[in-house]
């Protein structure tokens, strides 16, 4: 008979997390806990130079002196830092020359994630780096990029082959002392992606990293460093998934972007870490520090679609240091069931004629909490700075929360700042209109939500936009009520 929201709810609650399967790869895992010995173990295991070990040990000291932040609008059981294994590498450990050598299990994983490596290689020309439990396992398209002088490799490889670049830029955008999780990451990060685009080079393909936490009882602490030299351009994508587990897994990454004069970086994320089950058990704690620095005429654009994680704490930011530089932040964050997200951006205007745009679309359903937190700061010397911010929240249930905390600080009389925010319920009249035209409620919600998030989804590269749209619909299917 009548198919009601309640039917839909039951059906979807029984639908398991689509990406929840574990790969059976024997791990090379460090004993639980964090102390100087563990740091030395990680560093030795990775055959790192002394300066990097020193960097890590200093970070450990800094971290030990800091307290875990609690200002975000999230509440969760604080991770037991001594119960986490800080190193977990999937075997085989040997360097992989090509994708053909990748463990077929991992390739199968990629396919189940909806990324067929072969297909991507053939059709879209995306160079992909796979990072499982913080260890990079495969990087495609290396030779082709090499011809242009583009370096795209795992962080460990970069330390071995391009130590001067790593040493020069590591920690320059996100210093070790920046915050609790950045300090932790600086001490224990195991791998990640590294990318360098030489002067005047336009990277001919999307660079992409897929992250996955696999081993149970591990955290993922990857480090991404992306340098766009003068006049270069790169578009970089990252995707994240994790298997379904009853425990909370910790993901504390640091991403640093450097856009030199006239360079442009477009950084897109589709984050779909395991969000926990419908009772709020399990799921990933996603505590990430992402920041970019723009020199003269440079541009950094962050686009994110956040549908996963039990708790998210993430503010991709831009330091607009150079004159005429541009920062952009486009975000869709969806929370359902018991998920909590506190996300937003910081736009720090230092240079003259700097411009920033913020578009944030939050969608809360179930009993979740979704907060936008952002800072727009116009420094004294930032003549003619411009900012436009729009933060909208859409509410899909009477037990969820949507919060907006924008900080707007202006110290210059020539700045123009505009901030708008709205919070409203999903429109019943819109749903009825759709139904009258023969569009079922479920489809109608999908249409309306995608329409609502369109300004952000449009900023994603094509192949990601499709995945993101699908994710939005899946994440919200059982949500109106």
């Amino acid at each position: 008979m009548k198919y009601t929201e309640d039917h839909l709810k039951v059906e979807l609650e029984n639908q398991e997390y689509e990406y929840g399967f574990t790969i059976d790869i024997e791990s090379d895992k460090a004993p639980n806990g964090i102390n100087e010995g563990i740091i030395r173990f990680i560093s030795a295991k990775k055959e790192e130079p002394q300066w990097l070990l020193d960097y890590r040990l200093n970070a450990l000291k800094v971290w030990q002196s800091m307290e875990e932040p609690d200002w975000a609008h999230v509440s969760y059981k604080k991770p037991e830092f001594q119960d986490i294994s800080y190193y977990s590498a999937p075997k085989p450990k040997k360097e992989l020359e090509s994708l053909d050598e990748v463990d077929p299990e991992i390739l199968k994983t990629m396919e189940r994630l909806g990324i067929s490596v072969d297909e991507q290689k053939r059709l879209t020309g995306v160079a992909v780096d796979f990072v499982i439990d913080s260890v990079s396992v495969a990087t495609s398209f290396k030779e082709k990029l090499g011809e242009l002088g583009i370096i795209f490799c795992s962080f460990s490889e970069a330390v071995k082959n391009h130590p001067e670049l790593v040493q020069k830029y590591l920690g320059t955008v996100v210093p070790t002392t920046d915050n609790f999780y950045a300090a932790l990451n600086s001490a224990v990060f195991t791998d990640g992606s590294f990318c360098y685009i030489p002067k005047g080079t336009r990277c001919p393909m999307e660079l992409s990293t897929y992250f996955r936490i696999n081993e149970s009882g591990t955290g993922q602490f990857e480090r991404t460093l992306l340098i766009a030299d003068e006049g270069s351009y790169v578009s970089y994508l990252e995707g994240c998934t994790a298997p379904q587990r009853d425990e909370n897994q910790l993901h504390a990454a640091v991403v640093e972007l450097v856009a030199m004069d006239n360079a442009e970086i477009k950084y897109s994320t589709v984050q779909n870490w395991y969000p926990g089950n419908k009772e709020g058990i399990g799921g990933v704690y996603n505590f990430v520090t992402k920041r970019g620095i723009c020199e003269t005429n440079a541009k950094i654009s962050w686009t994110q679609v956040e549908t996963g994680s039990a708790v998210t704490w993430k503010y991709p930011s831009c330091i607009l240091k150079g004159d005429n530089s541009i920062g952009e932040f486009y975000s869709v964050a969806v929370t359902n069931n018991y998920q909590q997200a506190d996300t937003g951006t910081k736009m720090i205007h230092i240079g003259k004629n700097t411009k920033s745009t913020i578009i944030s679309k939050g969608i809360s359903a179930g009993q979740s909490h979704n907060s936008y937190r952002g800072l727009v700061k116009i420094g004294k010397g930032a003549q003619n700075a411009r900012n436009f911010s729009q933060c909208d929240s859409l509410l899909m249930s009477d037990r969820c929360g949507a919060h907006t905390y924008p900080y707007i600080e202006c110290e210059n009389s020539t700045a123009h700042l505009e901030h708008e925010a709205t919070t409203s319920k999903i429109g019943e009249d819109q749903i009825f209109y759709c139904k009258q035209r023969g569009v079922s409620e479920e489809k109608a919600i999908g249409l309306i939500v995608n329409g609502y998030a369109k300004d952000v989804l449009n900023k994603l590269p094509m192949e990601f936009a499709v995945e993101a749209r699908k994710l939005l619909e899946i994440s919200l299917e059982n949500s109106v009520g």
Partner: protein, 254 residues
């Protein structure tokens, strides 16, 4: 001629307030019915109840649509079965293009009848033909549903959607409100062109004006939740001339 819709003793309320107090109406294939009445007589309630808006509670009576109990169907099932309502205030849906919206609607309908949806090519061909009918600008087709449309464009968009969905029964709810004479002519022309022997139209309006262009077979006067008089097209002209008072006074007296 076969019966499309049969309404018997329909009563409905919003909250505790009774609005429809016993409506009887039969609409057959090939007919155009006009429902007229002063403000607050229950015209919009009638169209909302027929389309299935859930603020309205049917307390008594029945509506049989193509042999089925209309009130057993969800709004989207009514749409799939060929019931179309042109909204008095078409709703804006930001970010959803008109084209994508219609394509989804048609695909869902095809799915209901277990048919293959139109191919992209066929679909675009149909869009081209049907939009010419209401002189709808190409740009509007790709814009978000009704967002930034003028009043007239919204109403033309409703008729365009009607043309695309090929309904059996169309209910035009105050479609003439807010239209200038050119837009009115375009809208009416669209409706007339879509008329066949197999479908029917209910035109709900306050003014006689629209009925100069869409000629009704029957005119019903709705007052205080009941149809107090039914006549031919000449009744509309009489109402134009004399207003509603002579009828409503009579009704109150009775």
């Amino acid at each position: 001629m076969s019966t499309i819709l049969k309404i018997e003793n329909l009563q409905a309320q919003v909250g505790d307030k009774a609005i429809l107090k016993g409506i009887n109406l039969e609409v057959k294939a090939g007919e155009i019915h006009a429902i007229m009445g002063p403000n607050g007589s229950g015209k919009s309630t009638l169209s909302s109840v027929l389309a299935g808006r859930d603020e309205y509670e049917v307390t008594n009576g029945s509506a049989t649509y193509l042999g089925k109990d209309l009130f057993e169907l969800d709004p989207e099932e009514r749409a799939w079965e060929g019931l179309f309502m042109a909204f008095q205030y078409p709703v804006e849906i930001p970010g959803v293009s008109n084209i994508n919206f219609l394509r989804t609607a048609l695909a869902e309908k095809a799915n209901y009848f277990k048919k293959e949806p139109l191919s992209a090519k066929e679909f675009l061909q149909t869009v081209k033909e049907k939009s010419a009918l209401v002189e709808l600008n190409d740009k509007l087709k790709n814009r978000s549903v009704n967002v930034g449309f003028s009043g007239g464009e919204k109403k033309r968009n409703e008729i365009f959607q009607m043309a695309m969905l090929e309904p059996t029964l169309s209910i035009l709810d105050e479609t003439d409100s807010g239209l200038d004479i050119d837009a009115l002519r375009i809208v009416a022309n669209g409706v007339n062109t879509l008329k066949t022997e197999n479908n029917a139209t209910i035109v709900i309006t306050h003014y006689q004006r629209l009925l100069d262009y869409i000629i009704p077979d029957f005119v019903h006067v709705l007052f205080d939740g009941r149809i107090i008089k039914t006549g031919g097209k000449e009744l509309a002209l009489e109402l134009e001339e004399k207003g509603y008072d002579w009828l409503t006074k009579e009704a109150v007296a009775n």
